[in-house]
Amino acid sequence: MVSLQPLTALGRREATTVTQGPLSITERSDVALASVAVRKGRGTDLAKAAEKADIPLPGPATHQPGTPYSAFWITPEMWFVEAPYASHELIADLLKHALGDAASITEQTDAWVAFDLTAPDLAPLLERLCNVDYAAQPEGYATRTVMDHLGVYLIKHGRGSARIYGPRSSAESLLHAIETAAHSVW
């Protein structure tokens, strides 16, 4: 039994939700994350292993949900795979077991802060944060972009539902940027 008490990226014991008008910003510390990159020439092997293990490896600019594994494309032949932290804290080991040596796998859980945003329509907020044409993108769109000088991943789950992965060390700055942009809108 580990005796250490973790902190969320915002430095709190529990993940919290901030609201501004109709917008909710929820820190998600319950998501395990790992990168999966194809070893040279092993794309077919990886695809087979992933299919067998029910690990989605979607195409460019796409997030594919699943249980327990969801995934989004981050660069050619590389994905971030998500899973519930409670059951998949050791996500890198679990993925290595499932995918074998066809992929290079690295734990990324604590490299990022995840914020889930919900509002009736997020486009007016996101147009003040990044250059993504949110309204025009389909559900399941995933992209790398920049918010407040920070490189982030933006995943569109719906018109009013999105997740942002930002650098963990800048969690407070990123939240502040989202909140101030929200003040401009609502």
């Binding site: 580990v2 005796s3 902190l7 040279k40 147009e127 003040r128 250059n131 407040d148």
Partner: protein, 983 residues
């Protein structure tokens, strides 16, 4: 004050809400206006024509225009921290409580002592200060320039911090329509009805453009009503975004346009948390420039008095704002549009006493004294127009008493944005103006008056057609009926008469005489003309003056206007507040911060933080009784060397490198070899640039057969990762290597000191004895009952030391746990200053030595560059110039007198040598006070330094006056045998 110059509502109410009254002040006097007014229209309604003083001569000035081209009516708006200079009264939307003051005058607008400049104008011609203030040379900076700057100027800037917020954002559309006049509205309707995503932006607070200022019909309704109905239809379309108060200020690369939205400038203050302005970056597949046209004046003597306006502006004030600028008005024109102004004013009950038409022939206006072939040759009136002198066709002169004169010299298409990519406009003699060239920004079409299509019908048609062409639409909507009058103009640029001054660029006080002087002194090219006279260099970019100046130069040189050339425009179209460009990146929010895993703990302890890139690192942690930083740092160093110290080193870059070629990849990017490194071990690595200079250093551990973890310096974490990606993707794509940063994924702490192992043994679940975990060992472990962690036995301090890493969420807890469980060893947490002291004591290189100019040889690490393999930088590191045996070498330095002081940046000199560059032996790169040794110590690069160990030299710093005798020693100044390290 009553609104004495407001036209009776029965004659047409204008587009103001007369049922509501707004109160405002100008130069401390109270006035009233209505919603829909601009500051200029409201002042004119109150009979105020005098609104400013000119830039150089301090001439009395009133508004020339009714739009954003205004050169004269510049005011300081608001007070206190929100005071904004150089605001154009013609575009300021009136609000209740507005406060404005005139600027560039003393002591008052009506009596301006600097008006003496006007009397001395003969001395102030173009280029006067280049010629006049030449000697003595030293007077320029201290005397002449301050006086000139005070005498010639615009408004003053508040010294208080701007209290408002500014937003930035990004918009996307299929079609951006710039300008919401008839062309822009028709383009937006065409695209909007076709279901395309449209942004329609207009700088005005009311869409409709010139239709709001005219009386003619579009379809079967007045043009303004058609505009309002069109806007209402567009507002119902979810695919159309209407942006009033939004100036598209520039066309940039790749279909990107910049736009400033004045979100709250029409309010006394922005709502709490809301921005004052937003700077939008608009990404548009196609754009249509429908920015209309700007009327230009005619230059004649004393053509700048308050009350002399553009004829179209007189018409606009009457039609849109219900304001008659004067009781007795005349029009001076060279084209039919001036006649339209006369008729509109007459219809509003204004006494139009004469129309001075420079053209001969044609039909005469009914019911108005229409003087054909006549010219205005002079004006009079101290603070405003009182009369004009007219030279009639038969040569006779006549004075006519009037208080307002409308001047129309023709209309210039607003080509500005079309030339932002250096497209040169072309001269169209049919309208005597420049129209857009054919090489504008890709994807930008031009419609309406901006394209030289001056009639309403032409505007509607070209707007529609541009939208159809831009979006390749299959259907083209019908057009409403509208006037389609031809342009009838006989160019007249300036009236040749007398020796007085005739203004061309009213904001910069450039006259016909100045252009003549430029010609006389052979500054005849357009670009020279501009710089010699300052024509077009004011905040209005010469919107009303440039073409006239060009035409006058053409006359003087005997060339045609096209032969003379043209000027192009740069962004921004109109002035942009610096706050809008800065957005939220100011003060504490200039850039985001990165917080270390121990930040919250350190803040509880009262730590002093230092910015390292975006990171906030603990610099030192003061304890009670410590009054200055050295006390804290000395304590942290001594405690670490005595027992154990802990330092958060999470900021060091960490890169996960995997793949079957990972080892071979590292052999190529590092100067030394890594493919032979056993699993479970780590090694110090040196990375060179292509040119052989040291790029970065750090420790890389082999965690598995095909898995390495590289650490980089904090400063180079991003650049090294980028470099590795370049190598992987571009140089050696055949290699099986995968990279990803894990800098933030792991909280990493250095645990150093004689008791480091004992402390860690209370944390780590496995055996970490010297035998089980020897020097330079690395491996995956668990801590505190099973938490996955990594341990590296490496040292930057020269002590027995480890770096221990856990998932970042546990970093704070791990630190607290180490301090609690290891309390018997009295552990100290040390910051970057103590870290620096210990690494200098040990002679480890860091930022001061990794300066982008130094080689491995310079650092005493030349043998690390393996010749047994190829690696980036290896070959070029062998260049003759970099391998000089008497070149710079890293040395340690200590003062001969223990009280002697050293400073980084000081230079080595031989004893007795003069402090000149020829005698320079090198420089100190890093300096600290060593509490162990009891004196300053330093590292430095010294020529042939390795041969000078034990010698005495001087350290000289001419800036601080330092001249200290020192002894050159080995860089390893503390525990040179490394016994503590391996303990």
């Amino acid at each position: 004050m009553t609104q004495s110059h407001r036209i009776d509502a029965k004659l047409g109410g204008g587009q103001i809400d007369r049922t509501k009254t707004l109160r405002f002040t100008f130069d401390g006097l109270p006035y009233q206006g209505h919603p829909g007014d601009t500051l200029a229209s409201a002042l004119l309604a109150n009979g105020v024509r005098l609104m400013g003083r000119s830039f150089k001569y301090h001439r009395p000035r009133g508004p020339l225009s009714a739009g954003s081209e205004e050169p004269n009516a510049l005011v300081e708006l608001r007070t206190g921290a929100r005071q904004e200079p150089n605001t154009r009264a013609t575009v300021v939307e009136l609000f209740d409580g507005l406060t404005a003051n005139s600027q560039n005058r003393w002591p008052s607008l009506r009596f301006d002592a600097m008006g003496i400049n006007d009397k001395l104008s003969a001395f102030f011609a173009a280029g006067f200060y280049y010629k006049t203030f030449m000697w003595p040379k030293s007077f320029w900076e201290k005397l002449y320039e301050p006086i000139i700057r005070r005498a010639a100027g615009l408004g003053s800037v508040t010294r208080e911090e701007d209290p408002d917020e500014y937003d930035k954002g990004f918009l996307h559309c299929d079609l951006l329509v710039i300008g919401a006049g008839p062309a822009g509205l028709m383009a937006a309707l065409t695209a909007g009805r076709a279901g395309k995503r449209v942004i329609l932006a207009d700088e005005d607070f009311r869409m409709g453009g010139r239709l709001n200022a005219e009386t003619y019909a579009v379809g079967d309704v007045p043009g303004a009503d058609w505009a309002a109905a069109s806007v209402a239809e567009l507002a119902t379309m979810p695919n159309v975004r209407l942006m009033t108060r939004t100036t598209v200020m520039g066309a940039f690369d790749h279909g990107i346009y910049g736009a400033v939205e004045r979100v709250a400038d029409h309010l006394p203050t922005p709502a709490k948390g809301k921005p004052r302005q937003s700077l939008w970056r608009i990404y548009s597949g196609r754009a249509i420039l429908a920015a209309g046209a700007t009327e230009r004046p005619i230059a004649f003597e004393n053509n700048d008095r308050p009350g002399i306006l553009l004829a179209g502006a007189l018409r606009a004030y009457a039609n849109r704002w219900g304001v008659k600028v004067g009781e007795r008005v005349a029009i001076f024109t060279n084209n039919d549009d001036g006649l339209r102004s006369a008729l509109d004013l007459q219809a509003k009950g204004v006494d139009v006493v004469a129309v001075i038409d420079s053209r001969q022939g044609g039909s005469l206006l009914p019911g108005i004294r229409h003087l054909q072939g006549a010219e205005v040759i002079d004006t009079s009136g101290k603070l405003g127009l009182a009369s004009i002198a007219v030279r009639q066709a038969n040569g006779r002169s006549e004075n006519i008493a009037i208080d307002a004169l409308g001047v129309s010299g023709g209309w210039n298409p607003n080509v500005n944005i079309h030339s932002h990519h250096r497209s040169r406009p072309v001269y169209d003699p049919g309208i005597a103006a420049f129209i857009p060239g054919s090489d504008g920004p890709p994807g930008l079409l031009v419609a309406g008056a901006a394209a030289g299509q001056m009639s309403t019908h032409a505007a509607l048609k070209t707007g529609r057609d541009a939208a159809v062409a831009a979006l390749e639409l299959s259907r083209s909507p019908d057009l409403p009926e509208a006037e389609d009058m031809p342009i009838r103009i006989t160019p007249l640029w300036h009236v040749a008469h007398g020796k007085g001054r005739a203004w061309i660029d009213q904001q910069n006080d450039v006259t016909v005489k100045d252009v003549k002087l430029a010609h006389q002194e052979n500054f005849t090219s357009v670009e020279h003309l501009k710089r010699y006279t300052t024509l077009g260099m004011a905040t209005d970019q010469g919107k009303t003056g440039n073409v006239i100046g060009l035409a006058v130069m053409a006359e003087l040189t005997g060339r045609s206007i096209p032969e003379t050339g043209t000027t192009i425009y740069r962004p921004p179209y109109t002035p942009v507040a610096l706050g809008a460009l800065a957005g939220r990146s100011r003060g504490r929010e200039f850039r985001p911060f990165r917080l270390t895993p121990s930040h919250h703990w350190a803040r509880e302890q009262g730590a002093v933080f230092v910015e390292v890139g975006n990171w906030l690192r603990t610099q030192w942690i003061p304890k009670p009784g410590e009054t200055e930083w050295r006390q804290s740092v000395d304590r942290e160093v001594l405690a670490t060397r005595k027992s154990v110290g802990i330092c958060d080193v999470t900021t060091l870059g960490k890169i996960d490198i995997q793949g079957t070629d990972a080892g071979a990849f590292l052999d190529r990017v590092y100067a030394n070899t890594f493919s032979t490194l056993p699993v479970g071990k780590c090694r110090y690595g040196l990375m060179l640039r292509e040119d052989g200079i040291v790029f970065d250093d750090g420790t890389t551990a082999r965690m598995g057969e095909h898995e390495y973890v590289m650490t980089t310096t904090t400063a180079n974490a991003v650049t090294v990762f980028r470099h590795l990606e370049f190598c992987r993707q571009c140089l050696w794509p055949e290699m099986d290597v995968q990279l990803i940063s894990t800098t933030e994924a792991w909280a990493q702490f250095s645990v150093a000191g004689p008791n480091a192992r004992k402390l860690l043994e209370k944390i780590v679940d496995q055996d970490i004895s010297d035998a089980a975990f020897p020097y330079m060992g690395a491996g995956n472990i668990t801590v505190c009952g099973g938490l996955r962690a990594r341990l590296f036995r490496i040292s930057f301090s020269g002590e027995l030391a480890y770096e221990i890493a856990v998932p970042t969420r546990y970093g704070d807890a791990l630190l607290r746990e180490m301090l609690a469980r290891g309390a018997e060893y009295d552990p100290v947490v040390y910051g970057t200053e103590a870290l620096g002291v210990m690494r200098v004591e040990k002679g480890h290189v860091a930022g001061g030595e990794l300066n982008g100019q130094s080689t491995a040889l310079n650092m005493g690490l030349g043998r690390m560059v393996s010749k047994k393999k190829d690696s980036i930088g290896m070959v070029l590191s062998q260049r003759e110039g970099l391998t000089d045996e008497n070149g710079y070498r890293l040395v340690g330095v200590k003062p001969v007198d223990p009280n002697g002081k050293l400073t980084a940046g000081s230079h080595f000199l031989e004893k007795g040598a003069a402090p000149v560059a020829a005698n320079d032996g090198g420089w100190l790169t890093s300096k600290v006070y060593s509490p162990h040794l009891g004196h300053d110590i330093a590292l430095g690069y010294l020529k042939a330094g390795d041969k000078k160990i034990g010698q005495r030299m001087r350290i000289v710093n001419l800036l601080s006056g330092l001249d200290t005798e020192v002894e050159i020693v080995s860089p390893h100044m503390f525990d040179p045998e490394g016994e503590r390290l391996r303990g």
